[in-house]
């Protein structure tokens, strides 16, 4: 991945304590920027998903589309910014 | 002392009255009279399936409900019908189904759900002889089914038992009232004779007032969503729900028990009977009185809640009780529970669709009196024996569909 300026916003907000670690989002992400955070366990007892590289996320929202637990809220870059 | 729980009748001018040109009494078939009474009581929807001996009720509804712009559906089975009723009642509508014994068995599951979720539905069971496919003759062999819970779980259903078509018409309105007041299914039990017989009836109907229900499903516009359900997987929560149900049933027992006493003031013996059996009993009592026997009728009108306190009080003055049923003897168990051994309780009944005759009942009364007198002579005090007579088989029963002896 090319280095980019850190973003003042995040493309993905995760409802951490609703995630069940099913990894369907990990498999569908075209940029492979989703992974389970195996350093922690959420209130349900699972390793929740985490966005590993916010700068590489394209806000395609495929993760939100396949997630059975509706954990994702997806934001996209402001129109003025160009990558 | 004759006590009758007064059932309030408020005469109203109805379409039927105007239709019949101010005639005071009209000859009506029981099934049809019950149907029309439900319609006049404001029934919004009827769901049913044909079964003998109540098909005329369904057919009356099939004609009248669309005339009035109300809902009629002949379902694919009684299972379909009762579940349609459950859904319709969940929206707060005044809903009714009817069937006969085998169909009521199919409705048992939904009755448990309705009791558990507090969904008001009125059911009419025009009882026929069983078990299984049985026969189409009149019967009272669904007493256990009606009063002890058709479906699974710890619940009760108020059961109303008219002994005439006129009373059945009035109790239809009562049924809707009880169902809505207490959020419970309510059953009215008749038998093939009441359903099929034609009697002159006064066209007086009651329409219970409508209430606004805060539980009805109408679409969650501007209010929180409502859920009608009976499941609670947390045992403590489910116990609380059950305790609330039991509290409700105690309230119903306290306020809604209905019965009729006839010629009990000086009675030494009593017949306990309901429905068609009560009509036969009245004839037998009239003849027994002519023979000098002091006997009266104790007629439960609510089979549940059973009038156990009143019967218990009555049993203190009685030398013996004869229970008469169109069955092998089901209500007699509740009679014995109420009497608690204060006097002997005997039984006379017919099965298979046969109806006891007044002569049979008179014979059973005399047999009871004879036994009581022998026991008293032998021991010098009231016996506490439980002596259950076997069903009489002298073959003098009425054919199905014939009219029993009129009220004495």
């Amino acid at each position: 991945m090319a280095t980019r300026q850190p973003l003042p916003w995040t493309p993905l907000v995760v409802a951490v304590d609703h995630c069940k670690g099913c990894e369907l989002c990990v498999a569908v992400c075209p940029k492979t920027v989703l992974a389970l955070d195996r350093s922690r366990v959420n209130l349900l007892g699972y390793h929740p998903v985490v966005l590993t590289d916010a700068t590489a996320c394209t806000s395609c929202a495929l993760c939100a589309r396949v997630c059975p637990d509706a954990v994702f809220t997806v934001w996209a870059a402001p129109r003025e910014e160009h990558r | 002392m004759t006590r009758r729980q007064e059932i309030e009748i408020r005469p109203r001018r109805t379409e039927a009255e105007m239709e019949t040109g101010r005639r005071a009494r009209v000859l009506m078939k029981g099934n049809e009279a019950i149907a029309e009474a439900a319609i006049q009581a404001g029934c919004d929807a009827y769901f049913g399936y044909p079964i003998t001996p109540q098909a005329e009720l369904l057919e009356w509804m099939a004609r009248r409900m669309p005339e009035l712009g109300r809902v009629f559906v002949q379902a694919e089975s009684e299972l379909g019908a009762i579940n349609m009723a459950l859904g319709a009642a969940a929206t707060g509508a005044r809903v009714m189904v009817s069937s006969s014994s085998p169909g009521i068995s199919l409705m048992a599951e939904a009755m448990s759900y309705m009791a558990g979720s507090g969904t008001p539905v009125v059911l009419v069971n025009v009882m026929r002889a069983g078990p299984g496919l049985g026969g189409i003759g009149p019967s009272q062999s669904d007493y256990f089914q009606a009063t002890k819970g058709h479906g699974h779980g710890d619940y009760r259903v108020p059961v109303l038992a008219p002994d005439s078509i006129g009373e059945a018409m009035d109790l239809m309105a009562t049924a809707f009232e009880l169902a809505e007041r207490y959020r419970t299914p309510v059953m009215l039990v008749a038998d093939g004779i009441l359903g099929q017989a034609m009697e002159p009836v006064e066209l007086r109907f009651r329409t219970p007032e409508r209430q606004a229900f805060d539980w009805a499903l109408t679409g969650a516009a501007g209010r929180p969503a409502r859920i009608i359900k009976s499941i609670d997987l947390d045992p403590e929560v489910l116990e609380r729900r059950n305790l609330a149900l039991q509290h409700k049933y105690r309230e119903i027992a306290r306020h809604e028990t209905r019965w009729e006493g006839w010629r009990l003031g000086d009675a030494e013996f009593a017949i306990v009977a309901y429905g068609t059996a009560a009509r036969v009993a009245r004839s037998a009592i009239a003849r027994a009185r002519d023979n000098g026997m002091k006997v009266g009728l104790f007629r439960p009108i609510t089979l549940w809640p059973f009038p156990e306190r009143e019967l218990a009080r009555m049993s203190r003055q009685l030398h013996g009780i004869l229970t008469v049923e169109l069955s092998s003897g089901q209500m007699i168990e509740d009679v014995r529970l109420a009497v608690e051994g204060r006097c002997p309780v005997a039984f006379h009944g017919r099965m298979g669709g046969l109806v006891p005759t007044p002569d049979e009942v008179l014979g059973a009364l005399k047999a009871l009196r004879g036994r009581v007198e022998r026991t008293r002579a032998a021991s010098g005090h009231s016996p506490a024996a439980h002596d259950r007579g076997t069903p009489s088989t002298n073959g003098a029963g009425l054919d199905a569909g014939a009219r029993p002896g009129g009220r004495g």
Binding site: V66, D69, A70, V74 | V73, E76, G87, G219, R226, I227
Partner: protein, 278 residues
């Protein structure tokens, strides 16, 4: 909010992010009891999105099944009544007949609809009841521990077919939606899948169509959803979706089985158009 990109009210020139997707409010904000990767969650979300898009939640009276989705009323914030196992179409009939203005929805699994409730669904369809039925077909009885369903595939091992489903002893799987589609009272019958992102998008369009049929005064509408049961099938969530795309879809073809209505002109923007088949 749908998958369409919408402005979050950013001012021109200000560097404010745009909301691409947020789950609709009618999907209750709580963790569900479903297993990891279970398709019920996806289907509930699609229903929530479609109901919101069509402005239906305030008018909806829905019927809950018996099965894993017995608690669906905890996840969709609309009026609900619980039906006995299999009876949802009859309960929905009662609601529909008494509430002509309501939006009436049923949600059932394969045991509820294709086993114990076969009579109820057939006759509701035959009567052309104006309801929308969602049929979740995952070929197994999940809630009770993984027994065989009427839609279990031949050879599939379940706790009540431990040697694999044998046609001679246990019969053949049922394509119940094709059976129902023959009935003139059925306006719309379609089968979709949760197997991948594209299928989910097409499934959403089917659900939207089935809801529109009801709003537009059509008859019975049903969407069968090929869904997964990772725990019951003994697979990981990802493996279970591969299984859906393989043997399951071979047994249960995707697509619109019948559409007897006039097509709506408006379609959800994010979905691929579905062509009515003859």
């Amino acid at each position: 909010m749908t998958l369409d990109a919408r402005s979050s009210g950013a001012l021109r020139g200000a560097a404010a992010a745009r909301l691409v997707y947020r789950k609709p409010d009618v999907l209750v904000d709580r963790a569900t009891h479903y297993c990891p990767g279970c398709g019920h969650g996806v289907i509930h979300r699609l229903l929530a999105e479609v109901l919101t898009d069509l402005d239906l939640p305030a008018h909806t009276i829905a019927v809950a099944p018996v099965g894993c989705a017995v608690f669906i009323y905890d996840y969709l914030d609309v009026d609900f009544v619980e039906a006995p196992h299999g009876r949802a179409p009859a309960v929905a009939t009662g609601i529909r007949r008494l509430r002509p203005e309501a939006f009436v929805l049923t949600y059932q699994g394969d045991g509820d609809l294709a086993a114990i409730g076969t009579a109820e669904i057939v006759h509701a369809a035959a009567r052309g009841e104006r309801i929308t039925a969602i049929f979740v077909n995952n070929g197994i009885y999940g809630m009770t521990g993984g027994q065989m369903a009427p839609t279990t595939l031949l050879g599939q091992r379940t706790t009540s077919s431990p040697s694999g489903r044998d046609a001679g002893l246990m019969g053949y799987p049922i394509r119940i939606t094709e059976m129902l589609a023959q009935l003139p009272g059925v306006t719309y019958a379609a089968r979709g899948s949760v197997a991948d992102a594209g299928s989910i998008g097409r499934l959403k369009a089917m659900i939207a169509r089935a809801c529109r049929v009801q709003i537009e005064g059509g008859g019975f509408a049903i969407v069968e959803v090929l869904s997964n049961c990772p725990v019951g099938w003994g697979m990981t969530p990802q493996e279970s979706l591969e299984h859906l795309k393989g043997p399951v879809v071979e047994a249960y073809p995707l697509g619109v089985i019948v559409d007897r209505s006039a097509p709506s002109t408006a379609r959800p923007a994010a979905a691929a158009p579905t062509k009515p088949e003859a």
